[in-house]
C-alpha cells in the first residue's frame, strides 16, 4: 500500500459523506468533503505531508514557499513544510489572513513571505476556485510570484479552467469523483 492509498483510505473514512448537501457556493451536491477531519488528524498530517511533498517534487513548479487562505490551507502547508525539512529541501510555509489585521503591522500574510518568493498556493477542497483567487491576489500584491495552486481535493467545478486562463497550473491530489467512487466501493 502506498502513502497515496493510505491517504485515500483516510479521506474516505474521515472526510467523505454521501447524501444531499448545499455547498458554500449555493450549489447542490450529492457528496460533501470535510477535508479538515483528515488534514488535522495525526495520521493525516503525516500522509498529507508525504503525498503533497511528493507531488510537488514530481512537478516542475519548484516552489520556495507554500501557503493559502487560513484556515483550510494551514495544516496542509505546515505538513508540507515539516516533510520538506525532513527530506532536506526546506519549503517554508505562510498563511494568508481572510482580511488584514487591524492592529500591529496590519499585514495580511503571516509567516514571512519574501518578495520574489516562488509561492505555491494551497487549498483543501476547491470547487470554483474563487476563494483561492483572493489569496493569489494578496500574495501577488505582497510581491511574490504565484507558481501554481495545489488542492487536496478538486471538486472539478470550473476551477481548472479559471486557473488555466490565468496561466496558473493547478495540481490536485484527488478529484471529488475519485473519492466518492472509493467511498461507494468501500460501502
Amino acid at each position: 500500500m502506498t502513502d497515496y492509498d493510505r491517504l485515500t483510505d483516510l479521506l474516505v473514512r474521515r472526510s467523505v459523506r454521501i447524501g444531499d448537501f448545499t455547498l458554500a457556493s449555493g450549489a447542490k451536491s450529492d457528496y460533501y468533503i470535510d477535508a479538515r477531519l483528515t488534514t488535522m488528524s495525526a495520521e493525516g498530517q503525516l500522509l498529507i505531508g508525504q503525498v503533497a511533498y511528493g507531488a510537488i517534487m514530481d512537478s516542475d513548479l519548484h516552489p520556495t514557499h507554500v501557503g493559502g487562505l487560513t484556515l483550510g490551507a494551514d495544516p496542509i502547508s505546515y505538513a508540507i513544510a515539516h516533510r520538506s525539512a525532513l527530506e532536506g529541501t526546506p519549503i517554508d510555509a505562510f498563511t494568508v489572513r481572510k482580511r488584514a489585521k487591524e492592529h500591529g503591522t496590519g499585514q495580511r500574510i503571516e509567516g514571512g513571505l519574501p518578495k520574489g518568493a516562488r509561492a505555491l498556493m494551497i487549498e483543501d477542497t476547491m470547487t470554483t476556485g474563487r476563494s483561492t483567487l483572493s489569496a493569489v491576489e494578496a500574495v501577488r500584491e505582497h510581491g511574490a510570484d504565484v507558481v501554481g495552486v495545489l488542492t487536496v481535493v478538486d471538486r472539478s467545478d470550473g476551477a481548472a479552467e479559471v486557473f488555466a486562463r490565468m496561466g496558473i497550473p493547478l495540481l490536485h491530489l484527488f478529484t471529488g469523483k475519485q473519492l466518492v467512487d472509493a467511498a461507494r466501493a468501500s460501502g
Binding site: 500500500m1 497515496y4 503525516l46 508525504q50 511528493g54 517534487m57 532536506g88 495540481l171 491530489l173 484527488f174
Partner: protein, 157 residues
C-alpha cells in the same frame, strides 16, 4: 502510521504521490540463520540490507544494473531512511520485497518499499521510505539519469 498487519496487494503497478502509476519491482529473499539475533528473530539492521538489495534489483529491472553504475563511476547515496517494523520474521521465512519510485527531484529520488511474507497471508512485515541522491564521478550530486527515471516511472516492458 497505523501498523495494521494487513495483507499487501500484489499489483504490479501502484499510484505514487503525484497520482502517477508506477511499476513495482519484486525481489524475493529467504532468511538465513546467521541473520537472527539474540531474540531469535531477524535483527532490525538486517532489514536495511534486504531493502538495499531490493533497491539494486529494482534498478536492474529498470534497465540499470550495478555494473553500469561502476562503469560510469556513479554512485547512489542514501540520505534518509524511514522504516516501520511491523512484524517479526524468523529462520527460513521467505520474503517478498516490493519497490517503487514515489517521486523524483533533480538529483534525488524517493523510493518506497514494503516487505511481506511470500505466502498466502501476504502479511506486511516492514515498510521503508528511502531518499537517495545520485552522485557523479566527481563525487558531487548529479541529475537523476533520465533513463533511470524513465525505467522506474514506466517500466521496461
Amino acid at each position: 502510521m497505523t501498523l495494521t498487519r494487513n495483507a499487501a496487494d500484489r499489483t504490479k503497478r501502484v499510484v505514487s504521490s503525484s497520482g502517477r502509476e508506477r511499476p513495482v519491482s519484486e525481489t524475493r529473499i529467504a532468511v538465513r540463520t546467521s541473520e537472527l539475533d539474540s531474540f531469535g528473530h531477524v535483527n532490525h539492521a538486517i532489514y536495511l540490507n534486504y531493502f538495499e538489495h531490493a533497491r539494486f534489483e529494482a534498478l536492474k529491472q529498470a534497465g540499470f544494473p550495478w555494473g553500469t553504475l561502476e562503469e560510469r563511476g556513479w554512485a547512489i547515496f542514501v540520505v534518509r531512511i524511514e522504516v516501520d517494523y511491523v512484524a517479526e520474521t524468523h529462520r527460513e521465512d521467505e520474503l517478498l520485497i516490493r519497490t517503487w519510485a514515489d517521486s523524483f527531484r533533480r538529483t534525488s529520488m524517493v523510493l518506497e518499499q514494503e516487505m511481506l511474507r511470500d505466502d498466502d497471508s501476504g502479511e506486511v512485515v516492514a515498510r521503508a521510505r528511502v531518499t537517495a541522491v545520485w552522485i557523479g564521478s566527481d563525487r558531487r550530486p548529479m541529475r537523476v539519469p533520465p533513463d533511470v527515471q524513465r525505467g522506474l516511472s514506466e517500466g521496461t516492458t
